[in-house]
Amino acid sequence: MKLKWLKVATVAALIATIGFGSVQAPTKTEAASKLSGKIVINGSSALLPLTLQAANEFKKLNPKVKISASAAGSITGPQSVRKGIADIGAVDWDATKAVPGFEAFTGQVANKVAVTPFAAVVNKSVTATNLTTKQLQDIFSGKVTNWKEVGGKDADIIVVNRAFGSGTRVNFQQKALNGTDFMTKGSNYKEVKTSGDMKTAVESTPGAIGYLDFAYITTKMTGVSINGVAPTVDNVINGKYKVWGYGYYMTKGQPTGVVKEFIKYVQSAKFQNGSLKKLKFIPLSAMK
């Protein structure tokens, strides 16, 4: 073991100073690792696994950049940016434009970072795993309350909904329910704050139906086919499955400095085709 290091030390002794003389003139004035600063990210819980994975990888390349990421629903992303307590607001819709329930956030820039597919999910006890749009509308509005009414067993339907402000809720309402309203109360109704809470609720509640982005779907639940189309990445890309949206990083004006570099990393081919895909998101390039 010592000999190996002796070899290295000998080389070191021979070379007092070695520059990279044969390298072309620098295209950057500063090495990437010299980036420093802090990035605070808040917003979508659907995007949180992606954000934290990107943060882990970015930090290995830029250890002096401190990244703090949290999630309490999409709406808190652009709110935090507007309030000046976050540099990036992660949100499941383009918050520079108004969507039902939320006005546009002016002065912010929507940086597209991912394609997020969403699915209706049911507890493993539920056998009705192929529903029409009408059936979904009736279930989530509370008109249909027993699974036998939509081809399943005689069992109560427990609707699990995300709280107002969720980007997953915005996307699901717009694209799976065609904009119809959710039920808001009742003994078979439950409301949760984050995707993690939704996952736990659907996994552990017999008869439950909710909705999640693909990243949160586990083997303890079933993704529901809508009008005979299964919730798969392939069906999103080939245009058959419509319940998906872009994930955005909102910034106050155009991003600069370490925030710009982090967003560039998330948008890079390496991350988009690597970790982002592994986490069940879809690369931006797939939807061109």
Partner: protein, 443 residues
């Protein structure tokens, strides 16, 4: 002007009407046109036509044609032509031009470009471009990867020459990890299943059909298994046996978002960083009020340790201080954890924690530490002090640093093998020490 005069003589000698040396374009005007011919040569196995002229029995070849065929860069600045192929740069101020086309004596020119020429066959090494992931295979080979919109290409690269061969083309796979003995590489597919490539035969074999998401895969020291974080939230630490493809849980403490997995040599002990999320409070009933707060109290990254022999799924918290932390490494015997501690002023130093007594110590703080890797019992660090950047080896027992190289400020990342082989990313190019001097082997 001496050179121009010499070239003028040459130009006159070959009797070119429109022949002019680059440095004396107007110096020679004669009546007869030079015959521009063509020869076909083999360049890296491809037949290519190269324009030529005959200079009293000496064949001169078109600079532009050769550069194009070799995919070398060519720039003309004033009277100087600069041709670059990989790290070889040739500046021509004595080329002969015919109707605006520059010609040179090819054998000498190709030699200066580092290109072999024999009996009409020209061979060059085409460097990889824009590599974004590199790992060592053994002391003479690396794997370099290039990501694009359609997927990733992984190449085996000769460390001395940059010569490369395609190993794997894929679109939905994790980055390759290489076993400590360099005999095999592993990757996970989009569906979570794992393949292993025998690096001598290049044959790929599926070793596990387990479909869980696998992050931060790490080979065990003996190469018989792979450790990884399971799930999209890195909640569970698992071990995949390459012998039978079985996956066993090493730690399941129901805490999400672990990072930087590091494993002891015997595979029984693991360490990792725990990433906590700030607490967010909001009232979304009136969005315009922006009634949202983010409380980061107690969310600093902390190192944890777990001895799987205990089997209680209760990891031990190694650190509690408020510094930011990166590059966690567990010693081979699992007795110490090393990491780079980053203070509020952004200076980095190497710290250690005894995994049994939890005693913390400063290992190295003489220079600002930017990266740390463990190799053969030493800690290899990239450091900066003022404008001087260095690569050093630290003895973790004494904290003594031995400087291995002084390097340019452009060095942004080290790639260190478990045996101490060092490569560096400089200006987005891969550089390795060749005969003691860092030389770029990608573009």
């Amino acid at each position: 002007m001496k050179k121009a005069v010499v070239i003028s003589v040459l130009a006159t000698a070959i009797g070119a009407a429109a022949v002019t040396p680059v440095m004396a374009q107007s110096a020679v005007q004669t009546a007869q046109a030079v015959q521009v011919g063509s020869i076909t040569v083999s360049i890296n196995g491809n037949s290519v036509a190269i324009r030529t002229i005959d200079a009293q029995g000496v064949t001169l070849a078109s600079v532009r044609d050769l550069a194009k065929a070799l995919e070398a860069s060519l720039n003309v600045t004033g009277s100087t032509i600069t041709v670059q192929l990989n790290h070889n740069v040739v500046k021509l101020s004595d080329a002969v031009t015919v109707n605006g086309t520059a010609f040179v004596e090819p054998v000498s020119f190709l030699g200066k470009l580092g290109v072999g020429y024999s009996n009409g066959n020209i061979t060059s090494v085409k460097f990889l471009e824009n590599v974004d992931q590199v790992t060592w295979v053994n002391a003479s080979k690396l794997i370099a990867s290039i990501s694009g919109e359609n997927g990733r290409e992984d190449y085996l690269v000769d460390a001395a020459t940059g010569k490369n061969e395609l190993l794997l083309t894929s679109s939905d796979t994790s980055e390759l990890i290489v076993s400590p003995d360099g005999s095999k590489a592993a990757y996970s597919e989009e569906d979570g299943t794992v393949n292993v490539i025998d690096l001598s035969t290049k044959q790929s074999t599926k070793v596990s059909t387990d479909t869980s998401i696998k992050n931060e895969m790490v080979f065990s020291a003996d190469g018989s298994s792979i450790f990884f974080f399971q799930g999209d939230k890195n909640s569970v630490i698992c071990k995949l046996s390459l012998a039978d493809g079985s996956v066993t849980k090493v730690l399941e403490d129901k805490v999400d978002y672990k990072a930087n997995l590091t494993v002891s040599a015997d595979g029984t002990k693991v360490a990792y960083f725990q990433i906590k999320q700030p607490v967010v409070k909001n009232d979304a009933t009136d969005v315009s009020k922006d009634d949202v707060t983010i409380d980061p109290t107690g969310t600093e990254t902390q190192a944890f340790f777990y001895d799987s022999a205990k089997g209680d799924n209760k990891p031990v918290q190694l650190t509690k201080d408020a510094s930011d932390k990166a590059f966690l490494e567990l010693s081979a015997d699992g007795s110490k954890a090393y990491y780079v501690s980053i203070k509020d002023d952004n200076t980095g130093s190497v710290a250690s924690v005894n995994t049994a007594s939890l005693e913390a110590a400063s290992v190295y703080s003489a220079e600002d530490v930017f990266q740390m890797n463990q190799a053969d019992g030493k800690l290899i660090v990239l450091t900066a002090k003022g404008d001087a950047n260095s690569i050093s080896a630290i003895d973790p027992a004494t904290g003594t640093a031995s400087k291995l190289y002084s390097v340019s400020d452009a060095v942004s990342e080290l790639i260190v093998s478990g045996k101490g082989d060092i490569a560096a990313i400089s200006n987005y190019q891969l550089a390795v020490p060749v005969n003691g001097k860092f030389t770029t082997i990608t573009r």
